[in-house]
Symmetry: C2
Subunit: 271 residues, 2 copies
C-alpha cells in the first residue's frame, strides 16, 4: 500500500461512509448524496439540524454540542447536530462512528462552491475537516439555486467519484472540491482544475428598520477575476464540465518565502 495514501478500506468489511453537509439534515442535497453513496458501503450521516451555509471551517467553542439519532435502518444511521459542518465531522469521527470512516463526503450543496467560495463554504469546511483527520474527503455541489433543481446528474457523478476515491485513496492533506452542472445532457465531461481567482462585489443591501436604524444584508455578485484562463473551475463550469479541484490544507505561499526572508534583517533591527 502506498504510504502517502490513507485509509484505502480493508476488504473485510464494507466501507464506512460519513456523510454531512451545510444545508442541514433535511435538505434535498444530503438525501440525494445518501441515495448516491449507499450502494458503496455503510452510511453514517451526521449533519447540522438546520442550514449552516457560509460557515467555512467554523467550530462551536462557547456552547456544548448535542446530537440526536433521527433514523436507523440497515446500513444507514442518521444523526442531527446543533453545530457547524466541521463540528459534525469532528463529532462523527471522535464520538459517533462505530469505526474510523473510510471516506467523508459532504453535500450535495444546493448551489455552486467554485473559486473563492471554497474559503466560505461549509460544505468544503466539512471536507477539509475530514482531510485534516487524515480521511479521504470530497465536497459535492450542484450548480443550481433553483428550489426544484434536478439532482440526478449530481447523484450519478457523486457515486462515480466516491467509488473512485474509495478505490484509489487521496494524498494526505488533499481533498476534492467537485461542482456539477445541473443538466446531464449538457455535461461535456470532467475537468481537473485549479481554483479561479475571484471575489464578491457590492456586497451589502443597506436598509432601515421601522425605528430608523440601519441594518445590512449580505448580498453581492461574484466576479471571476480570470475570465481568460481555461484551466480554472469557473471556466470548466461555464463550459458545461464537472469541475474537480484538488484542495490542500497547507495554505503556505511558498513562492513568497524567499522575498519575505529579505525583510527579516530590517524587521529584527527595529524590534
Amino acid at each position: 500500500m502506498d504510504q502517502d495514501k490513507t485509509n484505502i478500506p480493508a476488504n473485510k468489511q464494507k466501507p464506512l461512509i460519513l456523510v454531512t453537509n451545510d444545508d442541514g439534515v433535511t435538505a434535498r442535497g444530503i438525501r440525494s448524496l445518501v441515495e448516491s453513496v449507499r450502494p458503496l458501503g455503510e452510511v453514517l450521516v451526521v449533519a447540522p439540524d438546520a442550514p449552516r451555509s457560509a460557515q467555512a471551517s467554523a467550530l462551536t467553542v462557547t456552547n456544548p454540542l448535542r446530537v440526536k439519532k433521527i433514523e436507523e435502518e440497515d446500513g444507514l444511521t442518521i444523526y442531527q447536530c446543533n453545530g457547524t459542518p466541521a463540528d459534525c465531522v469532528k463529532l462523527a469521527i471522535n464520538q459517533l462512528a462505530p469505526r474510523r470512516p473510510d471516506i467523508v463526503v459532504s453535500g450535495i450543496n444546493h448551489g455552486t462552491n467554485s473559486s473563492i467560495s471554497i474559503i466560505y463554504s461549509g460544505t468544503m469546511g466539512a471536507a477539509i475537516e475530514g482531510c485534516v483527520a487524515g480521511i479521504p474527503s470530497v465536497g459535492f455541489s450542484l450548480c443550481s439555486y433553483d428550489p426544484r433543481a434536478d439532482f440526478d446528474s449530481a447523484i450519478q457523478y457523486a457515486y462515480t467519484i466516491t467509488q473512485k476515491v474509495l478505490a484509489e485513496g487521496l494524498p494526505k492533506t488533499v481533498c476534492l472540491n467537485v461542482n456539477i452542472p445541473e443538466k446531464h445532457h449538457h455535461i461535456q465531461g470532467i475537468k481537473i482544475c485549479r481554483q479561479s481567482e475571484g471575489y464578491w462585489s457590492e456586497e451589502f443591501l443597506k436598509r432601515q428598520d421601522p425605528s430608523g436604524k440601519n441594518y445590512y444584508w449580505l448580498s453581492g455578485e461574484f466576479i471571476n477575476a480570470e475570465q481568460m484562463s481555461d484551466d480554472t473551475d469557473e471556466w470548466a463550469l461555464e463550459h458545461g464540465y464537472v469541475s474537480i479541484v484538488p484542495v490542500k490544507v497547507d495554505m503556505t505561499a511558498y513562492e513568497f518565502i524567499d522575498d519575505l526572508n529579505k525583510w527579516v534583517t530590517d524587521l529584527e533591527s527595529k524590534a
Copy 2:
C-alpha cells in the same frame, strides 16, 4: 510601482488602517493592536461585539448585520458589529470606511494561531478576507492564553511588521500569519516559515446534563505532526522565534493535478 503589489498608500494622506479581531471589540488584544498601529496612520476599528473565536471565514447570511459606532476621536473610529470577523472586514470595506483601507490588521489574538489553526482562526479569517479584497493584510497572535499575558512584545512586533507591509505591500492573494512569543527578552528573532502539518486529538469532553442527556464540549490537544522539521511555524515558536507564514487564498493542490487527470477517462466512462 510594482504591478503585482496592491495598495501601497499614496503619499498625500495618512494610511487608513483597518483593525479587527475575533476576540471582540473589548478584548485586550485589539486595544493593544490599536495602540501599536496608531502612530502609522488613521485607524478604523470594526470588530465583533463579542468573542467570535474559531469562526474561520464564516459569514452571516441568514441574519442582518448591525453596526454601532462606539468611539470617535482624532484619527480613531471604533465600530462594533454583530457579525463574524470576516463580516466585519466586508462591512468596513464596503460600507463604513471613508476610503479604501491601505492595510487590514487583525488581532492581537489572545492565543496562538499556528499550524492547522489557520483553518479555524477568526483572526486569520479576517486577514484572509482583507486579502481577497486585494488589500495587504496581516493577522497577529500572541502565544499566551494567560488572562494577564504581557502584550508588550506583540505590540512592538505588530508595529514593525505593519510599518514594513505599508512600505512594501504584499503580493496579490497573499497575507501574513504572525505569531509572537510572550516574553520579549526570550525572543530569538523572526523566522519566515511554512504552516506545520498538525491536527487536534481527543477532541471532546462528553458529559450528561441533569436530565441524563449527553452533550459534548470541544476540547482536545494539538498534535504537531512534523516534530523534526525546522522550517515550520511550530518549530520557530518552540524555539523562541516570532513566526511569519505567508498565506495564500488559492488552496489548489497543484502537485496532484497530473495524477487526477489520469482519473478522468475512467470517471467519464462511468458517468
